[in-house]
Symmetry: C2
Subunit: 420 residues, 2 copies
């Protein structure tokens, strides 16, 4: 007997009702949720302090403590996320295509909710509210399976949301927290065929691999980003170094941070000395022979190593940048298509034709011309909250907002037609 089965049934029942709500009803309910989170600040912050104390007692690293931490500003961010979702168009009931057959049958392809989603995530409690609000707006019920480290915070947020949904005339049973803390819960979710229509793993590589390998329900794979920036000689060198610095240093632990820089050989003298100066004391460079030589005398504080094959394959998620010299656009594209994870890839160039070829031939969710890879993000793209960044090609690709939680239905109306 599955311990989560009553929860699955309750979510499925709630989703059938939510699927029929119009935008006004869904937005009113979301406004209720945002107000209730605002009103429950004291309780949410107290719950978060309890999680933080426990985490510190268990020796959690400070970087992870920071992910877990809530404060008034972060609660403002959670509320702003819900408000952005409220402002989005309703993704449901859109006619994507429509046509009439020769026999007069009229066919419409319309968007409908995917159904019941589950999200399995790590410590950040804001994901709880983000994922809920996107799911609710898309007419989907959602099962939230956060990390045990954030359990009290998540309970307080979910309690506030349910209260707010009730206040706003919404459907409180459209979300549920899987909060027994047992690892077995994850297995139950991954095999809940007929109950869970999609599972979204959001977190580190180990979590995602475990979900992808074990799921018997549809999964959207997220996260892994071995991203590249390729620089051509006619790119403005200062702007190029600005972009590389931004893509590497602004948040090195993010999946859209750059990991390997590819420099077309004639650009080496324009780029490498400037880049070495800029990153000295901030990030380690792992260079191939030609790019290392182009630096000349290393500036004080620069950590400089020789790149090895493994560096091209590694998502460092750290203050480390691998640098490789290429002799052609084709060599750059081949390197990216071989070592990349199809996440975010950039070319810095003023050559229009090269920008086009790179955009066409690089196989990735997001291909940038003359911009930092760090923009691959639902918030930056204007989706409000995000469900994660899909690195697969099936069903959803790139930053996932409301659309990822929809599917289609064909509505066919006739006047008595039969098939010949």
């Amino acid at each position: 007997m599955s311990s989560l089965e009553p929860v699955f049934v309750s979510l499925k029942t709630a989703q059938a009702v939510l699927a029929l709500q119009n935008r006004q009803q869904k937005d009113d309910a979301l406004r209720g949720a945002a107000s209730a989170i605002n009103a429950a600040r004291v309780e949410i912050l107290a719950a978060n302090r309890a999680d933080l104390e426990k985490a510190r007692a268990n020796g959690m690293k400070e970087a992870l403590i920071d992910r877990l931490l809530l404060n008034d500003k972060r609660i403002d961010g959670i509320i702003e996320g819900i408000e952005t979702v409220i402002r989005q168009e309703d993704p449901i009931g859109k006619v994507k295509a429509g046509w009439t057959l020769p026999n007069g049958l009229f066919i419409e392809q319309t968007t409908v909710p995917m159904g019941v989603a589950a999200i399995i995530y790590e410590s950040r409690p804001n994901v709880t509210a983000d994922a809920f609000s996107l799911a609710y707006k898309a007419g989907c019920a959602i099962l939230l399976r956060g990390s045990s480290a954030a359990l009290e915070s998540n309970r307080a947020i979910v309690k506030a949301i349910k209260q707010g949904l009730a206040d706003g005339g919404g459907i409180p049973d459209a979300l549920a927290l899987a909060d027994s803390g047992s690892r077995n819960e994850v297995d139950e979710i991954l095999s809940a065929r007929g109950f869970i229509d999609v599972v979204l793993p959001r977190g580190g590589r180990e979590l995602i691999r475990r979900v992808v390998d074990n799921a018997r329900v549809p999964v959207i794979e997220t996260g892994e980003g071995n991203c590249h920036i390729y620089v051509e000689p006619d790119a403005d060198p200062v702007n190029a170094v600005d972009i590389i610095e931004n893509a590497k240093l602004q948040k090195p632990g993010a999946c859209n941070a750059v990991e390997t820089l590819l420099v077309k050989s004639p650009a080496l003298p324009r780029i490498m000395p400037l880049l070495a100066q800029r990153l000295a004391g901030k990030a380690e460079l792992r260079c191939d022979e030609r790019s290392r030589a182009a630096i000349g005398e290393p500036p004080p504080g620069l950590v400089l190593k020789d790149a090895v094959e493994e560096d091209w394959e590694t998502e460092f998620l750290d203050y480390i940048l691998a640098v490789k010299t290429v002799d052609s656009l084709k060599e750059a594209i081949d390197h990216i298509n071989r070592y990349g994870t199809k996440h975010s890839e950039a070319i810095l160039t003023n050559n229009h034709r090269h920008a086009q070829v790179f955009s066409e031939q690089v196989d990735a969710a997001c291909v940038y011309v003359n911009a930092s890879t760090r923009f691959t993000d639902g918030g930056e793209f204007g989706f409000g909250a995000e469900l994660g960044i899909s690195t697969q090609k099936f069903h959803a690709r790139g930053p996932m907002g409301l659309e990822a939680l929809t599917t289609i239905k064909y509505l066919i109306s006739g006047t008595g037609q039969t098939r010949e």
Copy 2:
């Protein structure tokens, strides 16, 4: 060592080239394929005769022999299918959405090919050409794994297509037949992560279950259709019986054939006697008590049985129709959402509000108002050939044409933007 690995590599390499071809190039290649099939009629029919002889010698049933059979008319149909695909718009390079961020970054969501598809199918040799032509137009390479019964026919068709692609300036390596006949081949395809981007099983329930349960690459589930027609009292009775007869008798083995008729109680006297007359000698009725009583004296030749619970769950794929009386629209919708396979469901009514409620609340790929369920078909929908009918909600739903073989890519162009 995988015996199919060289084939996977060759398909992947060919796909990278095909992905960059424009519509003109793809259509020219498809025209070459259609001409070559036309020119190879003698060889294809000879190969088909060899398959048929072997099948008869192995005691294959006549219904299955008919599926395997090719003749000039069926080859005309194969060619016409390719020509219809040629007439379709190119599904690749469409900008589905585009917007500019406040910082000036311009984002476009464009369609790109899914990559390498594999289709695992049973005996019908026309699927070979249908699946190839859709894949090619969508910029996808395709691995064809037909049944061993159709091996010689498929070899002859694939040989002609490859010749035609060469003649038309296309890419012959964009298709391959997995023709060792070993069952192990299917397992290799199902675990070819990194090589195969999507697997389409097309055939009976056993084949589909085997693929869905074992695949480690994305699968689109197809086929199972426990379809319903629900009749209200204000539907025209003669037209209603025309539609029911069409949906049951025109091709009972098809997944879009009706299996259970739901009759709202006041409609029983208008529908049941007429239906009993119409189906007498043609199909068996399995009725609940009230619908059986409404028939009165059974007409000569009518096979009439009492329905049992199992009948509501069964996709008969045969000349059998289950009939159940319901007392409300809600009861009909609940029955369908409980027993249906989310394939094709129809309401026959003149009540506008009821048609709307049924369309909204029935969870199925295709919902019909006043028409036969038999129209759920890529050809009927105007897609040209079809890859199958998806009964899942993830990635593709309903009859699958070109769109099911596409995914998206975000192209982001900037003028040096970095993230704040």
